[in-house]
Amino acid sequence: MTEPSKSGAAVGEPTGDAPGSNAFLEVRDLKVHFPTDDGLVKSVDGLSFQLERGKTLGIVGESGSGKSVTSLGIMGLHTAGQYGRRKAQISGEIWLDGTELLSADPDHVRKLRGRQMAMIFQDPLSALHPYYTIGKQIVEAYRIHHDVDKKTARRRAVEMLDRVGIPQPDKRVDSYPHEFSGGMRQRAMIAMSLVNNPELLIADEPTTALDVTVQAQILDLIRDLQKEFGSAVIVITHDLGVVAELADDLLVMYGGRCVERGPAEKVFYEPRHPYTWGLLGSMPRLDRDQQERLIPVKGSPPSLINLPSGCAFNPRCPYADVPKDDVTRTVRPELTEIGSKHWAACHMSQEQRERIWTEEIAPKL
């Protein structure tokens, strides 16, 4: 199913005329498929978005919706890895600052990785090497991209540890990861990814493994560092609270596709996809009065090998029967622009969705 990368985008999807137009990062029709014995797992199936410098994009969705695969795809970590002798099949275009990454020379991407784009992983204990000191790992990351001697690099490492708020950085630089607490490890990893001042930072569930109090510290840190370095940030999370804290734009994924995308305010206040409503309704909120009951999404996430035909969300959607002619079960809805920079993929007419949101969903939240 690896189609040659289609240039141009589907109807209504964001189009940029010149490749890598003015956006710093532009992803066009990205597909990441994994062949397995059971069939082709379409983890990401046609995803497009843009991101400017200094802005934050939040990607939300359930596990298995393709969030992390997207980020690994951008970082170019899939082509290198093999999955049971078979490689991932990637198509589409990823333009980073005027360079197309998927068709670029792997050596070139290797130079960009870590320098122009960096990543913060979810679990710092497995992302840091247990055998080397924190300092050594940061120094390595710095010296790969900068021709400096060890002393300078070490100074830089201490400086970064200090910047991310590790106490006594000149001492802790010689500690091993196991000597750090969870929050400190995450800080150390942030220091490592920021050591080369990357212009694109991808944070994949950066705070999921942490306690709320530490999470608050880390979120503040990411925000401050973004301001300081002016990087573009992609935050991947399942926690709507975290994206609301960080993101300017929001992309909601379901079954490997984007179902809704837009400015964070739009997606939170005027969501136009039933899945987004479901996410908002499933979440108990501290800033509201106690709800009597949560409004869960029924059923469970779909299998990526055998996505439901038509709209992938239709078996779980309470409004699947609203559009006529069973169209939800036969035709896959395209992302259509429903407002300024606000896209959603749903068969219901905009009036229907607006009415359902204001009359049925919003009052219950």
Partner: protein, 460 residues
């Protein structure tokens, strides 16, 4: 808690205790129906009572495995669980909440203290002694992947409690298991399937069905939803809710997610380093938390509202990490990170006192309430550093309300001149904090039960 209240509750517990043997036999005989659960403890009576509970895990070193120290996972906690209620337990990782759960279900042997279930001391019962109690106390585990044996079918897993307890349900085990599966929202035809054929949410439902098999009275759920996706989380939370209403279950729900805990609990215990810092009714705790730690914990929860993005001023950032439970700080355990800590906090451990009906707090300088140690106004240097991380708004608000409380105290209590004076003085320094919002505000919120103010907004 006052002595009177204590007497009352133990009295009730004893009453309940006298009814146990007959009751458990009764359940056994007609255990055909989980739904026909007979309750001997009326709602509101004490089902579980924990006094001075401790669990120290020894650290052994050297050739002779001499004990060189101990991890004080749970270090002296007291609480009760009333029949029919849900007690939520929150805290950061390592605060001892899971250990506490395993102590009250007696999966671990306490180092000291007592656990009374329905008035019966079960602290040191052996395996045999515990067996009859196991029917009444069940546990739901966090990880639905490792808590189900991958080599057993769902039928075997859910019927295990019947086999272990020698219970023959009416209509046969298979029928009962299938009924349980449908109660938790699974297809009864899945009886012969294996755990790997189910998704995380469905597995968690299997765990719940197993816990419900013997019509327990108390269900201890350790992080029941934290391994699940948001949309599935809501399904399981609603299921637990429904089951409680139908079967009159009592829950102890241990979780780190404060929004989930607020949603499910009637009362909430906040733990820190093996101690309970605050134990209060849900609305009181969320509307006017008294312990600075509770306040910091709640302000740290990210609010899913982009309008608040970057609203740092509302957040109380705690400095550093949780200290080691091997050598916890002296006095109040929170004093190393508290922005209100004074000398007394380093020396005297504040007792868990009921400061307001339904709200027990262990703090010398509580928020939203009169200062418990008003004479002690000099902040520790660590507290001053910590205060730098607390926004000025929060401090000013705390000071303003503490002055208000002090004024109110002066009005109501003519003898309190000195105390109120000190409180007001401290309030002006923005250092002390006898509380915010005074009694009037909190009272109104509780009465209406639907105050429009959300807790973090109070800091504005």
């Amino acid at each position: 808690m006052s002595d009177e209240a204590k007497d009352k509750t133990t009295g009730k517990a004893e009453n309940a205790a006298s009814g146990i043997p007959a009751q458990s036999d009764g359940t056994q005989e007609k255990s055909g129906g989980t739904a026909t659960l007979t309750k001997d403890a009326a709602p509101g009576e004490t089902l579980l009572k924990v006094t001075g509970l401790q669990k120290h895990f020894p650290i052994k070193k050297g050739l002779l495995q001499r004990q060189v120290g101990a991890v004080r996972a749970v270090d002296g906690i007291d609480f009760e669980v009333r029949s029919g209620e849900t007690l939520g337990v929150v805290g950061e990782s390592g605060c001892g909440k899971s250990t506490m759960g395993r102590l009250i279900t007696r999966l671990l042997e306490p180092t000291a203290g007592t656990v009374e279930f329905q008035g019966k001391d079960i602290t040191h019962l052996g395996v045999g002694g515990m067996r009859p109690m196991r029917r009444d106390v069940q546990m739901i585990f966090q990880d639905p992947y490792s808590s189900l044996n991958p080599r057993h079918t769902i039928g075997t897993i859910v019927s295990a409690p019947f086999k272990l307890q020698g219970v023959e349900p009416e209509g046969g085990v298979k029928k009962e298991v299938q009924r349980l599966l449908s109660v938790v929202g699974l297809n009864p035809e899945h009886y012969n399937r294996y755990p790997h054929e189910f998704s995380g949410g469905q597995r968690q439902r299997i765990g719940i069905a197993r816990a419900l098999a013997l019509s327990p009275k108390l269900v201890v759920a350790d992080e029941p939803v934290s391994a699940l996706d948001v949309s599935i989380q809501a399904q399981v939370v609603n299921l637990l809710d429904d089951l409680q209403q139908e079967l009159g279950l009592t829950y102890v729900i241990i979780a780190h997610d404060l929004s989930v805990v607020r949603h499910v609990s009637d009362r909430i215990a906040v733990m820190y380093l093996g101690k309970i810092m605050e134990l209060a009714d849900r609305d009181l705790l969320y509307k006017s938390p008294m312990h600075p730690y509770t306040k910091a914990l709640m302000s740290a929860v990210p609010i899913p509202d982009p309008a608040r993005r970057g609203a740092k001023s509302e957040r109380i950032l705690l400095k550093g990490d949780v200290p080691s439970p091997i050598a916890p700080p002296s006095g109040c355990r929170f004093h190393t990170r508290c922005w209100k800590a004074t000398q007394v906090c380093t020396t005297t451990e504040p007792p868990l006192k009921e400061l307001r009906p339904g709200q027990q707090v262990a703090c010398h300088h509580p928020e939203n309430f009169e200062d418990q140690a008003p004479q002690d106004v000099v902040l520790l240097s660590a507290a001053k550093e910590a205060a730098e991380l607390v926004s000025e708004d929060a401090l000013a608000e705390s000071a303003a309300t503490s002055a208000a409380v002090a004024a109110e105290v002066a009005e109501t209590d003519a003898d309190a001149d000195s105390g109120a004076g000190a409180g007001a003085g401290a309030g002006a320094d923005a250092d002390s904090g006898a509380g915010a919002r005074a009694d009037s505000g909190a009272g109104a919120d509780v009465d209406s039960g639907a105050g429009t103010e959300e807790p973090p907004a109070q800091e504005k």
